[in-house]
């Protein structure tokens, strides 16, 4: 008789935690699979949509235009080139914009494979996204 054996009953992924962002409880889940990174960030208690992100430039050739990464100045702004496909749920430009923002601002742009991301935010605003980017920097990467 073969049986499953619990190896870790506290955290089943590389990272899984909840943190308060601008007064809203936000859940984070991250795991590095062999062929995909999975990142779930949600304030809704569930996943409203899942997007698959492929990077248009290979990892070793993904040289950002500036050593310190994309800049905020609109005149010199450069985004990491990606293709975002909505696999499940409601597809919205706002969420796509949020995903692109997080990729530009965090080490998500160093993903060597594809990225599966679920972003469920109650309010999609710059302050919230910046706070999430900071949590990703400090807590995951």
């Amino acid at each position: 008789m073969c049986e499953f054996e619990t190896k870790n009953d506290k955290c089943g992924f590389d990272k899984q935690f909840a943190i308060d962002i601008n007064g809203i409880n936000t859940e984070f889940v991250f795991h590095d699979f062999q062929n995909k990174w999975v990142l779930l960030v949600t304030q809704l208690g569930k996943i409203p949509a899942l997007y698959n992100v492929t990077f248009d430039v290979k990892h070793e050739h993904r040289v950002l235009p500036y050593l310190h990464g994309p800049v905020d100045d609109p005149q010199f702004h450069v985004s990491v080139p990606v293709t975002i496909n909505c696999c499940m749920g409601i597809d919205s430009d706002e969420i796509r914009g949020g995903i692109q923002f997080l990729i530009n601002k965090t080490a998500l742009n160093k993903c060597p494979t594809e990225l599966l991301i679920g972003l469920g935010l109650k309010q999609l605003d710059t302050a919230g996204l910046r706070a999430i980017a900071q949590v990703l920097k400090n807590g995951i990467f």
């Binding site: 073969c2 049986e3 955290c11 899984q16 909840a18 859940e27 208690g45 899942l50 599966l116």
Partner: protein, 147 residues
């Protein structure tokens, strides 16, 4: 609902009374997520199971112990009452009847809950029945970790 979800609070407050009346309350986050990891070691069957329990839904990742991949992903959930049917689809990987959607449908039927399943295993019929019985008994013994 969608517009409320993307508008900053200030803009939402700036909407007129009519718009306010149409606003739906944002869903409550509910309980915190929980997750755990388990492994099956039985000869050729070397499987890692990762589970994320969310509010009203559960996510399962199944893959080989040595090579944890994510090739396919499926979802299944009970249809709205009074229908007793399960609606399901594969949204990543194989189209049609994938292993993931079969397992998701079975779990959703049994527990009347939304299940996301990513099953990345190559199993013959003998190994499949062994795996399924192991998973069912593990879930029965640790139900609070799943639903």
């Amino acid at each position: 609902m969608e517009s409320c979800a993307v508008l900053p609070t200030q803009q939402m407050e700036a909407c007129g009374d009519a718009a306010k009346q149409q606003q739906m309350p944002l869903p409550a986050a509910g309980q915190a997520f929980t997750s755990h990891m388990a492994q099956l070691n039985a000869g050729a069957l070397q499987i890692t199971l990762r589970v994320l329990k969310m509010n009203g839904s559960t996510m399962l990742f199944l893959s080989g112990k040595d090579a944890e991949r994510l090739d396919e992903f499926a979802i299944a959930m009970p249809a709205r009452p009074p229908s007793q049917q399960i609606v399901s689809t594969t949204f990543m990987g194989e189209s049609g009847q994938s292993d993931s959607v079969v397992l998701a449908t079975k779990l959703s039927m049994r527990h009347r809950r939304q299940f996301y399943v990513s099953m990345n295993l190559q199993l013959d019929s003998m190994a499949r029945s062994q795996f399924e019985s192991a998973l069912v008994s593990y879930m029965q013994n640790n139900l609070e970790l799943f639903v």
